[in-house]
């Protein structure tokens, strides 16, 4: 066992190439993977939409209506994705006891979002280190405000429905839409 370990270490040392973190220019490729994985986990954690929840009032509006993909230009696509991820993460950190979803899938989902949030922050930080603060730069911050309002409505909806099973299922369905929207935005990271 010890020799195996030694061998492993030797191998690692022998071939060790420098360990870099991620290349921000290639972020879209990795973002794609995260989008797909998150969508998969989201559908796995709860299965089919329960029939008894079909009558639930889905008065939260649609993200696509709130924010058209065309509104987000290349420079703030990263910012918008980060905001959406943070907001989704926040929602799934709320009281999930009635949701009756698979805990390990929720954990993987949250952990994946969290990793990407860190990654996006790192990339934004390195890119914009020398830029002036956005304070007052409405063009960049305005879409963020719209998002914040939208997610505020989602938070209020859950609270109002007392985090019931059907409320959660409705939101899970809505978050799937959000992730599909993020997928559209990811294309803008590419250029």
């Amino acid at each position: 066992m010890a020799t195996m370990c030694l061998l492993n270490i030797c191998l690692v040392l022998l071939f060790s190439t420098e360990i870099y973190s991620l290349d921000c220019k290639m972020l879209h490729l990795q973002q794609n993977k995260v989008n797909m994985k998150s969508l998969e986990l989201l559908s796995k954690m709860g299965g089919q939409f329960p029939l008894q929840c079909l009558n639930e009032n889905r008065n939260v509006g649609f993200l696509q209506k709130v924010l058209r993909p065309t509104e987000s230009q290349k420079e703030n696509a990263k910012l918008i994705i980060l905001e959406i991820f943070q907001q989704i993460f926040n929602i799934f950190s709320k009281n999930l006891t009635q949701a009756a979803w698979d805990r390990s899938f929720i954990q993987s989902f949250q952990n994946g979002l969290y990793q990407q949030i860190e990654q996006l922050e790192k990339c934004l930080h390195s890119e914009r280190e020398n830029e002036i603060p956005y304070l007052g730069n409405e063009k960049i911050l305005f879409p963020l405000l719209k998002l914040k309002k939208y997610f505020e409505r989602i938070g209020d909806f859950l609270k109002e429905k007392q985090y019931s099973l059907c409320a959660w299922e409705t939101i899970r369905w809505e978050m799937e839409r959000c992730l599909l929207f993020v997928d559209q935005l990811t294309e803008r990271l590419q250029n």
Binding site: M1, A2, C5, N8, I9, L11, V12, F15, S16, T17, I19, Y20, S21, L22, D23, M26, L27, L29, Q30, K33, K37, G61, K65, L79, L82, E83, Q86, F89, N90, S93, S104, Q107, S108, Q110, N111, G112, L113, Y114, Q115, I117, E118, L120, E121, L124, R128, E131, I132, P133, Y134, L135, G136, E138, L141, L144, L145, K146, K148, K149, F151, E152
Partner: protein
């Protein structure tokens, strides 16, 4: 305005007079406050303004506001102006307007007017603001704990205990800038980014360690104000304590993850390894009970632990503790694991074949359990190849698993190595073992050999099948002719005890006499015997037959037929 020219002059005069009158009245009236501004920290909004006149204690100020709401279609809707309750008849030049600011994303308009007795100034120039944009981040709370020579920092978000929050998802939005220094030394302070819970290792014992923290929203480039400075004395190293596992490192090859640490113990020591999903560190609750034992790494005596099974995407923290009976060491320094970053990509599997001027390389991606490597990387492959005799190495890169290197010299020994490459992580995998192969001779082009071979094979099979079919056909014909499988009806077979024979067989035992009939002879010998008559009639009936009797085969056939007719 198309007023007739005559009307213009009196109108101008009227306006002028009006302005003079107003000016005189203004001297009597109060001036409006100016430089109206709103300052905000978290959700606390303070309205401030300036007022120039000599101190006049009788002057009071009142403020009013208006909200401009937008809907999703960006259409604005203004509310009426309202007085701000906490800002009526105040004597100072600022007041708290937090109670009226409820929608942090909409626009607000505020203005202030001065009042003295019956006199009221017009409202000042309005100040338009969007609360979220002007709000500054307040100082976070900091808790320090000094145990076992390490300092544990717990940061609480700036609005932790408040019901109204400007920063709605504070758990994940904030990261923190930590500025720390040793109190006694002149070493400059260090700044780094931390999460809500951080442990500072490697501090000298018995020193006073000071720090302050500010919250930041990286994405919006907002940085808050610093917390007050807090200091803590690092604890002395406990005597006779079991040392904690040192040099804890992660090694990973093809998504097989191994945690190793130094073996520095003389006694019988066992270890326990725990992990934590990184996102739990950012959440409100304490992470103490969230640490989970890595399956298979409880009470182990080796100084390594395979934790591949817990890696399901995302970031992780790992830590080790040494245990000797009831004596437990402190937990080792925590190691943060980003699986895709720390993992080393093993060599791909390589199969090479050669032709006169090219090499064909078939690759198989580095093998991992349950295909987890593809969750991290979209691999491309880099091939390094060179002539065995030369030192010049060339490279080729592509994402496919099938390579062709062309334009090579014939009958030359080429060597190659392949490695995988991840563009996203700028990570090169390990090289495969060196493979050497000789390209084929120029004279015997492998293509020519191949085509000749293929043509020869086709020709051979064609001829063989034609021959085989011919043999089969002939044998069938023969069998049909000589040994037919069908049997004649039994009545035919048994007639006259004569066996049925093929019609094609000539019957040697029944030769037919060649007969000639000479008509005039018959007419001459009219009185001959009955027998003769009989014969004569018989012969005349087969007259035509006699004439065609020269033909052997048909003759025999006809004779046979006749024979049968006779016998029946």
């Amino acid at each position: 305005m198309a007023l007739p020219g005559l009307w213009r002059l009196p109108l101008l005069l009227l306006l002028l007079l009006g302005a003079v009158a107003l000016g005189q009245a203004g001297q009597m009236n109060l001036m409006s406050p100016y430089n109206v501004q709103v300052h905000a920290v978290n959700t606390n909004f303070t309205l401030k303004w300036k007022w120039d006149s000599q101190k006049d204690f009788e002057v009071t100020f009142s403020a009013q506001y208006q909200r401009i709401a937008e809907d999703d279609e960006e259409e604005e809707e203004e509310t009426d102006w309202k007085e701000i309750p906490g800002c009526q008849n105040v004597t100072v030049t600022e007041c708290d307007i937090s109670s009226e600011i409820t929608d942090y994303f909409s626009f607000y308009n505020v203005c202030v007017r001065a009042e003295k007795g019956e006199k009221r100034s017009p409202c000042s120039i309005t100040f338009l603001f969007r609360p979220y944009f002007i709000a500054e981040i307040g100082p976070p709370g900091v808790q320090l704990e000094s145990i076992d020579g390490v300092v544990k920092i717990t940061v609480s978000p700036p609005e932790k205990s408040q019901s109204r929050k400007m920063w709605s998802n504070e758990d994940i939005t904030f990261t923190y800038n930590l500025e720390s220094w040793e109190n006694s030394s002149n070493i400059e302070s260090k700044t780094r980014i931390i999460q809500r819970r951080e442990t500072i290792y490697d501090l000298a014992p018995g020193i006073i360690y000071c720090l302050r923290v500010q919250a930041r929203i990286t994405s919006e480039k907002k940085v808050g104000s610093f917390s007050p400075v807090s200091c803590v004395k690092t604890s002395e190293k406990a005597r006779n304590a079991l040392p904690y596992p040192m040099n804890v490192k992660v090694h990973a090859l093809n998504m097989k993850f191994l945690l190793t640490w130094d073996n520095q113990y003389d006694q019988n020591v066992s270890f326990i390894v725990q992990y934590l999903c990184a996102y739990l560190k950012s959440l409100q609750e304490d992470d103490l009970d969230k640490w989970t034992v890595v399956p298979g790494c409880e009470n182990i005596t080796t100084t390594q632990c395979d934790f591949s099974k817990i890696i399901l995407g995302g970031l992780y923290f790992l830590r080790v503790q040494a245990i000797n009976g009831y004596n437990k060491s402190r937990w080792s320094n925590e190691v943060k694991v980003d699986p895709c970053v720390v993992n080393e990509i093993g060599p791909p599997n390589v199969t090479v074949s050669s032709s006169e001027d090219s090499l064909r390389i078939q690759l198989t991606a580095p093998r991992t359990e349950n295909d987890s490597i593809s969750e991290c990387y979209d691999l491309t492959y880099q091939i390094l190849y060179w002539e065995n005799s030369s030192a010049l190495k060339k490279t080729k890169q592509q994402p496919l698993l099938l390579f062709t290197i062309s334009d090579l010299k014939p009958s030359t020994l080429y060597c190659l190595q392949v490695q995988a490459f991840s563009q996203v992580y700028i990570k090169y995998g390990h090289f495969s073992e060196m493979e050497c192969i000789r390209t084929l001779d120029a004279k015997t082009s492998p293509l020519a050999i191949l085509t000749t071979f293929v043509i020869a094979m086709i020709a051979f099979f064609f001829l063989a099948s034609v021959f085989g079919f011919g043999v089969y056909y002939i044998s069938r014909r023969i069998r049909y002719a000589f040994f037919p499988s069908c049997k004649p009806p039994s009545n035919i077979e048994c007639l006259g005890g004569q066996p049925f024979v093929s019609l094609y067989l000539s019957t040697s035992e029944e030769p037919t006499d060649n007969c000639c009939i000479i008509e005039n002879i018959v007419t001459e010998e009219t009185n001959q015997t009955d027998f003769k008559d009989y014969k004569h009639s018989k012969q005349s009936s087969r007259d035509s037959g006699n004439y065609s009797n020269d033909d052997d085969t048909s003759g025999t056939k006809v004779s046979e037929e006749m024979l049968e007719q006779e016998t029946s």
